[in-house]
């Protein structure tokens, strides 16, 4: 049987969910025996490939690029997993939603600045006025709450998915876990 194709993706998160994935430690090598990591910040693949079986997505949708990227991921992935509270609820990134975007930008790029105040615009993605969780943008197949979900939770979920079963996460994790 050929190996399954696994991907991990960062949108607007703190990377803590990816760190929790790395906290699989030696179990990472066990996962690598069952699945190829075909796209991830940990590997040098530049473009999200076609035919991905499982994609673990960390973070909320905050910028034009997040928006485009999650659509590409959805189109090329069989099972899309919202990994962690930012993906599931928009969590911390969405805390800026209660202020107009320009006010947040002004604090960083006008008020707290010594030289050349002004919002960067060249070669950086435009930000969305409101940050949104993934399932508001594309359909999501599996939700794993937690900030971050523990390595044990991630290992359980990924193992079940690799075996073709759907994980039962409610006894294992919760929001803010």
């Amino acid at each position: 049987m050929s190996k399954l194709r696994l991907a991990t993706v960062w949108l607007d998160g703190c990377s803590g969910c990816h760190m929790s994935f790395l906290d699989l430690d030696e179990r990472l090598l066990a996962v690598a025996e069952k699945a190829d990591l075909v796209y991830s910040p940990l590997v040098d693949q530049k473009e999200f490939p076609a035919g991905v079986d499982i994609a673990l997505v960390e973070g909320a949708v905050s910028s034009e690029d997040d928006l485009h990227k999650i659509q590409v991921v959805r189109a090329r992935t069989r099972i899309l997993v919202s990994l962690g509270d930012c993906a599931v609820t928009a969590n911390v990134p969405s805390m800026r939603n209660k202020f107009p975007l320009q006010m947040s930008l002004d604090r960083a790029y006008k008020e707290n600045v010594t030289l050349d105040p002004g919002t960067p615009t060249q070669g950086v993605p435009a930000l969305l006025e409101k940050v949104r969780p993934i399932h508001e943008v594309v359909p999501v197949d599996v939700f794993i709450p937690g900030c971050p979900p523990s390595a044990d939770t991630i290992f359980y979920a990924v193992s079940e998915l690799l075996e073709g079963r759907s994980p039962d996460l409610s006894p294992r994790t919760r929001f803010g876990a």
Binding site: S20, L28, L29, S62, V72, F99, A108, D116, P148
Partner: protein, 480 residues
């Protein structure tokens, strides 16, 4: 592809991979196909400085930790120290020592991640090796021992964080006034028992790396090898510290430019500049102005500014490190070497702190109301000096915040480094993947924490565009 003088080409590396966070790089070529300019775009913007407003200051350590899942402990510590200042308290001695151990555990795990998981594929498999295999799993296939050691070291750091703080990522244990729980005897002993194994791994890795450094002469001469200032905090006696100290700045010759600067007055001597092409603000040393006030922070800077580590093995290694260059050690390639010495130091220093009986004291938290309307907290994060600066109202609600993160200090130097390495290695007529991997690798040497956002959108893999002066794309070459 025809090369007309009226056109200029751009090479886009998107995304930069095997770094902590999201970035892309644009290389601008001149009419002869030589690299004329380079820009590192960081696409992170999250708004913490604004959205913390109106929230109780006591919430800040746990909230601000969510800036970064790789160095949440540094944000916890810098934030809690800013809160200590808001309450105007001196925290119990045991609490300070526990915070120190916590910080060292994180430096250890973060350095292990940077060296083994992200950068070692370039050293072990080669900068020009097959990109499809050039990752930690490729390392595991080629040199299983090195991969296992890296995983083990990182795991050890994370386990200490879990033993002290209750969980590995985003523990809530560091609080304004100290820490929330004392250390148990069982947990202390469990950490102590593992230290000798970690010391062995740290030393073996360092010996191995020093042995292969010879193979990377060309990278050493071109990976950000230029004079800058170096900045970090040191103890009163000039020794290295991650937790508390005064800011010292040395120049490229290794001479002290300024020392004993109070981090709370950072605004007097550090400027923040907006670059239009990145969400990362670049800092500079005000007395020298911009861009002459360029400086570097992090492991390389710490070894250049501090007089000593204060532990036996790390001090021996530091003496050897300074034999590389009589002035300050200037090539950013040596960040890796400095990082490995710091791992060794973390293990040695933890032993000292855990051997001290006071570490088990039950007095670990000072309780107070807010007593000052402004507070600054500083710490040395794995990748450099981290500053949190808060203002609150009479009720303890946040009014304003400013943070300077380590990666911002290195912003100017990273941009100059990618230009240097690209000029050295990139030839537009016969573009090879390995050339561009080296441009990314110099960024890896700085171990930037750009986490939190993305630009990568799956549309562009690696593209060379022929752009007319008006910006229109005339021709495009894509590589997958």
């Amino acid at each position: 592809m025809p090369d007309e003088p009226t056109t200029r080409k751009t090479i886009l590396i998107d995304p930069v991979t095997r770094i902590e966070g999201h970035a892309k790089i644009t290389l601008h070529l001149d009419a002869h196909g030589r690299v004329a300019d380079a820009q590192l775009h960081v696409t992170q913007f999250r708004g913490f400085e604004k959205f913390c407003e109106g929230r109780p200051f006591t919430e800040m350590p746990s909230l601000m930790a969510r800036i970064c899942g790789i160095c949440p402990v540094s944000h916890l510590i810098a934030s809690a120290k800013a809160c200590d200042a808001l309450m105007a308290v001196r925290i119990p001695r045991a609490a300070e020592k526990l915070r120190r151990i916590f910080g060292l555990a994180q430096v250890l795990q973060s350095h292990a991640l940077s060296f083994f998981h992200l950068s070692s594929p370039d050293f072990i498999l080669g900068f020009d090796s097959d990109p499809a295999r050039r990752h930690i799993f490729g390392v595991a296939a080629e040199s299983p021992e090195i991969a296992r050691n890296g995983i083990r070291l990182r795991q050890f750091g994370q386990q200490i964080i879990e033993r002290l703080g209750g969980k590995r990522i985003h523990p809530a244990w560091v609080v304004p006034g100290g820490v929330s729980e004392p250390l148990s005897v069982a947990n202390r002993d469990a950490i102590l028992v593992a230290l000798p194994e970690m010391l062995t791994i740290a030393q073996l890795t360092l010996e191995w790396f020093k042995g292969v450094t010879e193979n990377f002469r060309e990278e050493i001469t071109s990976f950000g090898n230029f004079p800058t200032l170096f900045l970090g905090i040191v103890k009163d006696d000039g020794g290295l510290t991650f937790y508390d100290g005064k800011i010292r700045i040395v120049d490229a010759g290794g001479y002290v430019v300024a020392t004993g600067l109070d981090p709370a007055t950072y605004n007097d001597f550090l400027g923040e500049k907006v670059e239009p092409f990145t969400y990362l603000k670049s800092t500079y040393y005000k007395p020298k102005g911009y861009p002459e006030g360029i400086y570097r922070v992090g492991p390389l800077a710490r070894l250049n500014i501090a007089d000593r580590f204060g532990t036996r093995r790390a001090d021996q290694e530091m003496a050897e490190f300074h034999e590389i260059q009589r002035t300050a050690v200037l090539s950013s390639f040596h960040y890796h070497h400095a990082r490995l010495i710091e791992i060794l130091y973390c293990v040695e220093r933890m032993q000292q702190l855990l051997d001290d009986p006071e570490i088990l004291s039950k007095h670990v938290r000072a309780i107070a109301r807010p007593n000052s309307e402004e507070g600054v907290g500083v710490a040395e994060a794995p990748r450099g000096t981290l500053i949190h600066h808060y203002k609150i109202d009479d009720h303890g609600s946040m009014r304003w915040a400013n943070m300077i993160i380590a990666t911002g200090h290195n912003g100017l130097a990273m941009n100059r480094s990618i230009l240097q390495v690209a000029r050295h290695f990139v030839h537009a007529e016969r573009l090879e993947e390995g050339m561009l991997n080296r441009v990314e690798a110099v960024i890896r040497a700085y171990d930037p924490c750009l986490s939190c956002s993305t630009h990568a959108d799956g549309r562009l893999a690696l593209a060379i565009q022929l752009v007319a002066p008006d910006g229109a794309v005339i021709d495009e070459l894509r590589r997958k």
